[in-house]
């Protein structure tokens, strides 16, 4: 209370001014988050003539959609787990370098770039390298190695897993590094002073402290992969094997018309999956902030 009085403006005008400052933020979230979500939710329950229907949700049970949903989840889980494991180790390695050192600055800025390096640019980088006319592919063919024409790159399981890892691993490094940095050397010293081995330290101290932020980062990676669209769309043009691609097909198909609201139902299913994941993330994040000052 004393603090607030000291910081507060002399008159009672401050709360009003503060509220005014938040207005742009609320406008922004309304326009780009709340409104689209609302449109998706409402649209999922309307038919072509804007009447209430459950038909769109029924359509979610079609094999094409359930397969796409399952494959989206599988791809996201696999890339999140691999990304978190590799990125986690990398983050620890980086954390051992002194703050401000060249290696550290280089790796973190590189990861900052790569984590955002998705979409069409990434897809084309891969096509130019491993694709049908990609130089690595042609080089392997020259060596007499059968790459199957490089067709593996254009599959959701083999191709996209590798491509997604290009942004998943750096993202893990970025979000997990602060957590690893939060480990105080004194804790390790204390553990060793009391006769603990490296194993004891990780088992009893480091592990439990890092587990919540690790799982949190893992979930973040999952949603990151789950919602990725442009990369997959640039690589795969047949079969719409993932939910975001199915939604796109429902919106811009020239052969099957009137599927827009089924697309919204699919989006609603995605929102629900992400909502569950984010709820778990929020809970874990609260736990992890108890130990780590960020």
């Amino acid at each position: 209370m004393a603090d607030r009085q000291r910081l507060g403006a002399p008159s009672g005008r401050r709360p009003g001014g503060a509220l005014l400052g938040v207005v742009p933020f609320f406008l922004y979230t309304t326009a780009f988050l709340l409104l689209p979500t609302l449109i998706v939710i409402v649209g999922a329950f309307l038919d072509g003539d804007s009447r209430f229907t459950l038909g769109n949700l029924e359509a979610l049970r079609s094999p094409a959609v359930t397969t796409a949903l399952w494959q989206s989840v599988a791809l996201s889980v696999v890339t999140a787990v691999i990304g978190a494991a590799v990125g986690g180790v990398l983050a620890y390695a980086v954390s051992t370098a002194p703050a401000g050192s060249l290696v550290r600055r280089f790796v973190t800025s590189l990861c900052g770039v790569l984590a955002q390096f998705g979409g069409v640019a990434l897809a084309f980088a891969f096509m130019a390298t491993f694709g049908l006319q990609g130089f690595v592919n042609l080089w392997l063919v020259d060596l007499g190695i059968n790459t199957g024409g490089g067709a593996w790159l254009y599959t959701w399981d083999k191709g996209l897993t590798l491509v997604y890892l290009i942004f998943q691993i750096p993202l893990m490094v970025i979000v997990f590094l602060p957590a690893v940095d939060g480990l105080r050397p004194q804790w390790r010293e204390a553990s060793e002073t009391l006769g603990g081995t490296t194993w004891t330290y990780w088992r009893r101290v480091g592990g439990p402290i890092l587990l919540p932020p690790f799982v949190g980062s893992l979930l973040l990676l999952f949603t990151n992969a789950f919602s990725a669209y442009a990369t997959a769309a640039a690589l795969i043009s047949q079969g719409s094997p993932l939910v975001p691609l199915q939604i796109a097909a429902s919106l811009n198909s020239e052969t099957v018309l009137g599927q827009e609201n089924v697309g919204k139902a699919m989006a609603l299913a995605m929102v629900l999956v992400v909502a569950v994941v984010m709820a778990i993330y929020a809970w874990i994040d609260r736990r992890s902030s108890r130990w780590l000052q960020r």
């Binding site: 094999p63 049908l132 024409g149 067709a151 079969g239 097909a249 811009n252 052969t255 099957v256």
Partner: protein
């Protein structure tokens, strides 16, 4: 590239035309044609409701009215698409009317939405060139008009009242770079190991009409039918398993770079690649000819109604039809003109040929095929 992609998606499924004839609500049409012929009988009729050149007082009167308007707004007509660049220039030169070409790379759905958004404005499109699905879903936006050669157009290619008329189209074909793969003489050739990682279908059949027609073509070639595409889906599954089918959207860029040496696409789009890849060949399988046509229509709210009607007369004249033919497309009056001897024989000789009658799939057949594809396509090629 976007042009190829977006325009591809708009290609007509000719099969749908059959039901369109039945589905287009007749009562509304009788009304509009009755009112328009009534106003047409008055001399110097309003161009907006004129259903033929006669209703305007003859061709000369139509021409004069169009020249007075001075401008024609067209939309989604890429200059290198079916020779539209030359057609627009020829029209401008012949009548001294300025053609404003808006969003040449847009797709059919955008043509309609632009017309709706700009309704009542002078920039709104006067005429449409649409893919079948979009064309038949928006028939209430067209002004009925019968060009001079209307009666010569076979009935399956036009709306009885002239709300829309098919303009040009093509056959589904397999294009290939003969310097990279052996000559294709049968659809089963595609399964050979020489074709590994080389075959692309123009679009997902559940998204793009061209891809859909490609599936139907393979179905006929494999002894299936238009509605039962099981054999085609199995065949594409085999192609995928052999690693021959690649899920890449073929464009002129992928063809030029060699990324897609074999492309299943409309013959006139395939033929366009020859300019950049001289070894490019186009093959249509025997007894598996799938024809697809575009739809021409006049915007009922056209800001330049007379110019729009003159444009139609120009397109359906021998001159206009031969321009399309020169672009590798098959104009709707081609058979008639071949009989009359007015067809551009040199251009006609360049079109790929195949044995058998072009197939027209009915809406029921199309729906059945779509239903099967919805459940099975992703499984086969995913």
């Amino acid at each position: 590239m976007t042009r190829a992609l977006s325009r591809r998606a708009t290609i007509a499924l000719v099969g749908l035309t059959a039901t369109a004839l039945a589905a287009c609500s007749p009562p509304a049409k009788t009304d509009s044609s009755a009112s328009s012929s009534a106003s047409g009988s008055a001399a110097a009729a309003d161009a907006k409701t004129a259903t033929s050149a006669e209703a305007m007082g003859g061709m000369a009167a139509l021409e004069a009215a169009a020249k007075k308007e001075g401008t024609l707004n067209v939309i989604a007509l890429p200059p290198d698409w079916a020779n539209y660049g030359e057609i627009i220039k020829a029209f401008e030169a012949k009548y001294g009317i300025k053609v404003v070409s808006d969003q040449p790379d847009a797709d059919s759905a955008t043509e309609i939405s632009t017309a709706k958004n700009l309704k009542g404005q002078s920039k709104a499109p006067d005429v449409f060139d649409l893919g079948a699905v979009v064309a038949l879903a928006n028939t209430d936006m067209y002004a009925p008009y019968k060009v001079a050669s209307f009666d010569k157009i076979p009935s399956q290619f036009k709306d009885a009242d002239g709300k829309w008329v098919n303009d040009y189209g093509g056959y589904m074909a397999v294009g290939y770079d003969s310097s990279k793969v052996p000559a294709i003489t049968s659809i089963d050739d595609l399964l050979k190991p020489e074709f590994q990682g080389k075959i692309a279908l123009n679009g997902d059949p559940l998204k793009a009409a061209a891809g859909f027609a490609g599936v139907q073509m393979v179905s006929l070639a494999k002894g299936g039918t238009l509605d039962d595409v099981t054999k085609a889906v199995d065949f594409f599954g085999e192609l995928k398993k052999a690693g021959n089918l690649i899920p890449v959207d073929p464009t002129s860029a992928t063809v030029e770079s060699g990324a897609t040496p074999v492309v299943i696409n409309w013959d006139y789009l395939n033929a366009a690649h020859v300019a950049k890849v001289p070894t490019w060949k186009v093959w249509v399988p025997d007894n598996a000819i799938i024809a697809g046509y575009y739809f021409q229509a006049i915007n009922a709210d056209a800001p330049h109604p007379a110019a729009a009607r003159l444009w139609q007369e120009f397109l359906y004249s021998d001159e206009g039809q031969n321009f399309w033919l020169k672009g590798g497309a098959r104009p709707v009056l081609m058979d008639e003109m071949t009989k009359a001897g007015t067809v551009d024989k040199e251009a006609a000789a360049k079109l790929p040929t195949a044995k058998g009658e072009p197939q027209v799939s009915s809406a029921e057949q199309t729906d059945k095929a779509k239903k099967y594809l919805t459940d099975n396509w992703a499984k086969a090629v995913g």
